[in-house]
């Protein structure tokens, strides 16, 4: 199954442009993990030409956005076909802000175990959010815990 939803691309408010965020890309995908790769590729393709560092797009963005989408689909929406995941990306030459929002009840992002501790290293899960935190410059959640905002900056 391919990603059916066409992304919407728009120019931004001049105030955001002052923060280095010059355009906006939005897409919504159904709760199907098979669409994560397509969604990440759509975003990467749109940003690659304008962002200053191509490797950041190919590695940091790809891993972080992919993990955020997986978490949203698997744990946020519990793979419920009736629920979607909204992606909003603001971007410019030196900054990218990616927001991924699911329709679940959220979770306590402050209480996620560190998968690198010896006691957790043999656990098969729990590395997605850790990788996101390692690979982007700033991570924020909304109060409910069902929306993550990941920021990448490069000079």
């Amino acid at each position: 199954m391919r990603l059916a939803v066409q992304p919407q691309l728009s120019a931004l408010d001049p105030r955001l442009a002052a923060e280095g965020l010059e355009a906006e890309l939005r897409l919504t995908l159904p709760s199907d993990v098979g669409l994560v790769e397509d969604a990440v590729n759509v975003v990467a393709r749109h940003l690659e030409a304008s962002f200053v560092d191509r490797h950041t797009i190919r590695f940091n963005l790809r891993v972080a956005l992919g993990e955020a989408l997986l978490n949203a689909i698997l744990y946020g929406n519990c793979e419920d076909d009736a629920k979607g995941v909204a992606v909003r990306v603001l971007f410019g030459r030196h900054a990218i802000e990616m927001e991924v929002t699911d329709e679940g009840g959220g979770f306590d992002y402050r209480c996620v175990p560190d998968p690198t501790l010896p006691a957790n290293r043999l656990r098969p899960c729990g590395r997605g959010l850790f990788l996101i935190r390692q690979l982007v410059d700033e991570v924020r959640f909304n109060d409910a815990g069902n929306s993550i905002c990941m920021i990448l900056r490069r000079t």
Binding site: V33, G34, V36, E37, R58, F59, R62, V63, G66, E67, L70, L74, P115, T116, R121, L122, R123, P124, C125, R127, G128, F130, L131, Q134, L135
Partner: protein
Amino acid sequence: MAFNARKQPGGILVIEVDGQLIVGNRQELKQLVLDALEAGDRKFLIDFTKTGFIDSSGLGVLVSLSKKIRDEGGDLRLAGLNEDLKTLFELTKLDTLFAITDSAQQALAAF
């Protein structure tokens, strides 16, 4: 096909991951290894030379297989990780859990 398995001298099962190890195909790798374990194989080498990407669920299945193989008295080694994949293993400290070599040949020689 994402996984190519072939038996090498010394009874080592080499599994090449072609493309990606992600949530969509991790169960296929898991089943392949579990079936081989059931059939009596104990030495496993997963070769990532042709692999561009591993997500956290792919890392998770490697952890799970490592434990299973060790419990059965076997040995799992990894080889051929590109720089980005090495970074993922280092960040998650999984480089301390697995025997990782640059090439499949090095891993085969070390069994």
